[in-house]
Subunit: 255 residues, 8 copies
């Protein structure tokens, strides 16, 4: 199937159809390539095989609370069904090492992500800028950045550009103003999203982080700030949800 | 998943592919069909058919935030479709009077409910006891009681039997111990649910009310109490949700 | 007494009375069989011996925060008073193993439940469906399922049918629509309860779980969702309270 | 300047530059057309004149808490600086009528929006679907829809498709699966965002509404649900912030 | 449990069984009797008898949410039963005037209390000091003071002695140090309770008030302060619950 | 303000002014003296003198967050000043053992209290009843009971008498109705305080405990219940604050 | 006394002492000028007469919840004691008009402040900058600004310089960098305080306002943001507490 | 805006347009330049230059979440840039020891601060008083005190002067009334700030601490108390933020 893979990652199902139309692929081969069942029941989990057709993205496994054995079984089911790219989030090094004994994977320790397969070809139309307020926000930002890269986007990292030292942010005006999507990652008072939102002319996805102490309330302060942003064009995902931001940014960027 | 379903789906996919191959279907249309497949195949028809089965039951209109004109239109549509029994909740006297000029309804002012049609015949197997902690909880209790009666249940009202005067509750032991379902309605500290739950041997549905002041926080105190009830067999509905309790009690009682 | 045990578990006291009426049992023997005291005081705890008469169910010990020694003493007191079925919740494997050296028990590790005695005969009229949104909700679901089974019900498990992959749930419409009671177990946004509540025509007991992160706030997000369900017929128990749901479902199902 | 206005609204500044390049416009005329100052200070407010260049969108005035006189002054300053399209949100009929005596505006009562100018030409690449859980969510949805339309998008309205009656939503699978961006507007438990997010293959912007009572806590329940959505590709704006959703959806759709 | 109780209970069970055997009692009736036994035997009679013992005390009617007609009816019932002293709380002047047309009452506007009867004779052993932080706390303080006076206590009022002007409080050290019970009424940061608690050697009942704005959160700030008082001997009642404080202070003082 | 005070103060001000005039006092020193005047005149001496009066009572050391070395030093200072009775709360066995090597103490492991000295002679006029809802509340109850005993009171323990098995509580009506003060200790829904408050005619001090899970929120549910008790005569201390309850109960009982 | 009034307002007491020292004022006259009593009890309030000596500032009356009659009485007591400057906050126009019939006052409607007396002479060493995020924050800002001016400071107003249009703020860098104290007033996400705090090298007092909707939670979002500011040198006062900020800024500026 | 600024900006826009016209600049590059203009013109240079002016002050590194290696690298960069004084907060002994092997530092274990360099010369005009309510608040107080000392201030420590033993605080009236700035550090009910604020005539910075249990909610109780202080002149920093208080106090004191 890789030969049918074109520029845009979302088009896997579409390309199969085009190939059928043009006669480059037989109906039989196409049926085999398409997910045959909407999901596969492997006992403790029902692996969704239809999302590939619906959303045209690599499959994703949320690793938290799953043993490496369980993750391995889900991967197997996906691979059986023809999946070539799998992203596993919230997975620590130990479990990743265990997976690595069986599957050919790469591990991004800061993002705590396992990548199986080579990732999509760059298909996004613009650059995705991932900015953080401080250095402690970087793990969440990396989860977003690695996700966006694996989903075929070019990512620009602007780390530690918090609003308390505005010149750090202002020195990257070019990146901000030419971005296709911006992911603003910040804890504490989360003001970064508003400041970037006021300067940029592209969608901004804000990610509150649990960085801070006291009245930061594990990310609630940043979350509320971002929801109340006085800048238009800002939307918010869950606290520390770097993956969610990277995923939606990819959706936006491939449009 | 039953075999038939899997087969059907796969054959549909083949048909789509054949149509694409033959040029009878565009790639766009095929892609949309593939995306919709697992939802349409399995779900929609059944869900819709199921609505038909349910028709023997009264319909319910949530009146809050709707004008009497809007409510009237919804009623008309229901009646046109053969509905003979309609319950309208959260409706004040003024709107009810306006409805009453057009439809043959009865209004229960304390419950703030309009009944259209005569209600279901008594079909429940046991009695539904509706108990309140204080007199201020009665409107919520009446919403539950009138709902349960309209849905064909015999209702016993035990009002103002709060735990601060335990003898009031204990003097109704017969009712409590022979009930089929009990709805415990209380504000403030909401202890009524636990005390009744400890005595009864039937399901207890607890309804926190917004009665109280200060740290009652508009019903939050009672809600938390009820969720944390040390008595088994107690479940909880939303604050002031008398209708929800009456509805579920009816479901339980007709079993 | 076992010979008097008929189909329905709750009828233990009733059967004694029937036997007395028919002359099959002497008043003396009946007196002995009936709990002689409403409770037994064993120092740190007052074991309730009257609940068997009131609620006709196996006895339950909440294991959290009790040593295996304390649990053993409570079990002894119950057995002394003629109890043949005991369920112990929230107990880890280590304590269960210690209990197992003295009593003939079985341990369900995923549900973290110890069962003493063989459980009630199936007496419920319908099936109890236990559904979960994700795989991480399974331990709470198992607590509900094992409880319901021990209390004499047939249980159908539908795990990992969360609303983000609706076709997984829709493929089980038959189970949902023929259920006697449904227990919907979900963390994160807890939408499962509303979706099931909208499809089913039986009572739905919703169990929020503490699964999730960030603004899931240890189950608060799911709890609020479930309390605000737009579907009628849904009531809610405490966060992670699988036992409470299984218990109330049993009460409803035996009606 | 209208003659330079092409298909895409964002390109106002770009088109001026193109016209300068091609010689169709003199540098002087271009300077005049471009905002001369980044903002104009009118005493109580600093009207931002540079946002047009930065974001290429119509200007927006947040009407809440401003008198019609103040709004009129801000409009005047904008018009003086060449703005031809102004959107005024959160404005009641009375103030709109007062504005209407001076300016040529249209008022959308359900959305509580005043539009000045004819709105951008359709420039978005896909359709924006605006869906609501219930009828009470419609005012917020209209704020989103009218905004998106004024910013040059084709909008499809799917109102009252809440998850408690899933067949209503499933009957619109075509719209959902072919959308460019979806705005999911819901109060109470806010499950709509997750269900739609699981089906669609485009970005979903979730708008919690303050619809509901009791433990809905003025929209907090829906907000938390949406932040915790188990579906990927969902981000969230502030409670009742229909404008914010419509604005960001426009940004995404014109990409 | 006293012997008599056990005996009585057991013999009653025997009598029930004998009656069932002889056919004098149906199985149903016997079952209900058995279920009620532990509650009836032990509790009901005593509780009821106890009400009689209490009759020497004024009765209290919580006036909020009751019409003057309803209050009048409750008063009539009390008076018919021989009650000579009745206190009605949370009642506005208008309702009090209506009551005054029928009954011989006095109204305390600041306390919003109606007194019927002359109040108890001074029976308390010490003085009850009622102190407030500011002038806005006086209505709550008066509710406490009037209650305590009506229940037969001498009351000393120390109003507007908040900790921001400590010398005002210190100038009343004599009153504080010779008090029998102190009621400390304060809103905002509620520090008064701690400062008085540190000086006094008698019980202090703290009453948080809803006085304040912003982060006072309608009394929550004062409530938390008082619960966390670093001074021993301080307990707390609900926000604005002047009556509760006056009532408990009376209980303590008459000891 | 008593006359003497005013006179004294005024004359002091005159003396200061005279000293400034004569050059005997600098302006700086005079300013400081004037600023301090109302605090010193009225407060300090009396407060200090009052400490002397209190000396007949046991001293209390809050052990949490202090090393055994620090506690030992504080004890030494107290003993040097003639203190014969010291109570140390929130101290674990290990630290107690270390203290035991130096001082002649006794340790109550369940209450986590160290007693130094033999405690006060029984001086209270009535019995203090300490009741708990469950067995997990016993440690907090013991903190209260041991404190009350050390302060010279007779204590009656009623443990595990939660409202879900009301007959257990009702079987102790005699103790409850003859108590001087009652301390009601409960977690989860905290209903015990209301039920006891409704039966007793003495002051009830409610202690919420952090026992429970999920929506118990570490004691918040019980705290709110108790603050909102529908029974008069109930006041509340901080979550798990057994000592505070025992201390205030002692204050009340010795009156 | 006016003749002794020098540059610095705080030195009223000091100047009297200097005059006594130099012989310009007799001890008798000085005694008369100094507050003779620490407070005056006028029944419902104890007016603090000593604060003038302690804090050297005009007297302040918090007008909220006081009738114009009560405010007038407090003013009278102050004036009787020699006060020449009084600031009354949170007072609406109607009450101000009533006061104006008796006293020679001026009313600032936007700040909702009444000034009695001409205010202190400028004594502050630097300028106090009062900045707001939006136009809706202006009333709170005016409360701060008018307070600071009445207490003798030069105030620079920078209104509507919110971070969503950063260039508006940046164009006032000169004011910000030369300020003595800055008061940053903002609602919604409250990011203004962090951005200003990062640029300025003087103390910043942040005032969250209740401006916003939805998850702004009446100022909580801004409050948390400001408490968590990543910029050093920022402290926070209560929501909408413009007076508190103006007061503390005056204290800082006169140092 | 000063004339020069406007002129400059306008002429730049002209130059861009001319360059586009002549083909020297692409439309894309021109668009980016126009977008950046208001930020660059006004802000960036000045902000950056301003960092240079600030260099006379110690730099601060927030140590939490950074490895000693990372801290060392940041220190190296600072030292390379000529910094002679560095303060590192929230650093434990182990990391400090590691740093000590490379740099010449001193470690304050109670404050958990590392000081590099000798600190500023005393430049503050007054004394900074740091007061705590209890002994458990001392670590936070030390963070404030060490910071203030390192920034060149004389610090007076008043520890364990909580309001429950008012004489302890009153015995330090001299220190409080002659202070330049006061930092009030307290957990639990946080009343210290109000009491000190009422006595002092200088700015008070309140620091809530997470000391306490139960309803102290990790510092929230103290935080709310302090925000609601009835004393004027009090502002608040984040829970446990001793550094922030010490830093702002230094700013105030050097004025």
């Amino acid at each position: 199937m890789p030969k049918f893979k074109g520029k845009k990652m979302r088009s896997e199902a579409r390309e199969i159809l085009e190939a059928v139309k043009s006669g480059d692929m037989s109906v039989e081969a196409a049926l085999l390539s398409l997910k045959k069942q909407p999901f596969e029941d492997i006992g403790f989990a029902k692996v969704d095989m239809h999302r590939g057709i619906r959303q045209g993205f690599p499959e994703v496994i949320y690793g938290a609370g799953k043993s490496s054995g369980q993750i391995g079984e889900i991967m197997d089911a996906m691979i059986r069904n023809g999946q070539k790219q799998i992203l596993i989030t919230r997975i620590d090094k130990e479990k990743a090492d265990e997976l690595g004994r069986i599957h050919d994977i790469s591990y991004k320790p800061e993002a705590r992500i396992v990548c199986y397969g080579k990732g999509s070809d760059p298909g996004g139309k613009g650059k995705i800028v991932v900015a953080t307020g401080g250095t402690s926000d970087i793990p969440v930002a990396e989860e977003a950045a690695v996700t966006a890269e694996f989903f075929g986007n070019e990512v620009v990292r602007l780390y530690d550009v918090g609003v308390a030292g505005l010149h750090r942010l202002l020195s990257h005006l070019d990146d901000i103003m030419s971005a296709g999507v911006i992911i603003a990652v910040a804890g504490m008072e989360g003001a970064l999203a508003s400041v970037i939102g006021g300067m940029a002319d592209c969608p901004v996805i804000a990610v509150p982080t649990s960085v801070g102490y006291g009245a930061a309330f594990e990310g609630v302060s940043a979350l509320l700030s971002m929801l109340n942003s006085c800048a238009s064009g800002v939307s918010v995902v869950n606290i520390d949800n770097g993956f969610g931001a990277g995923y939606q940014a990819s959706m936006i960027n491939r449009r």
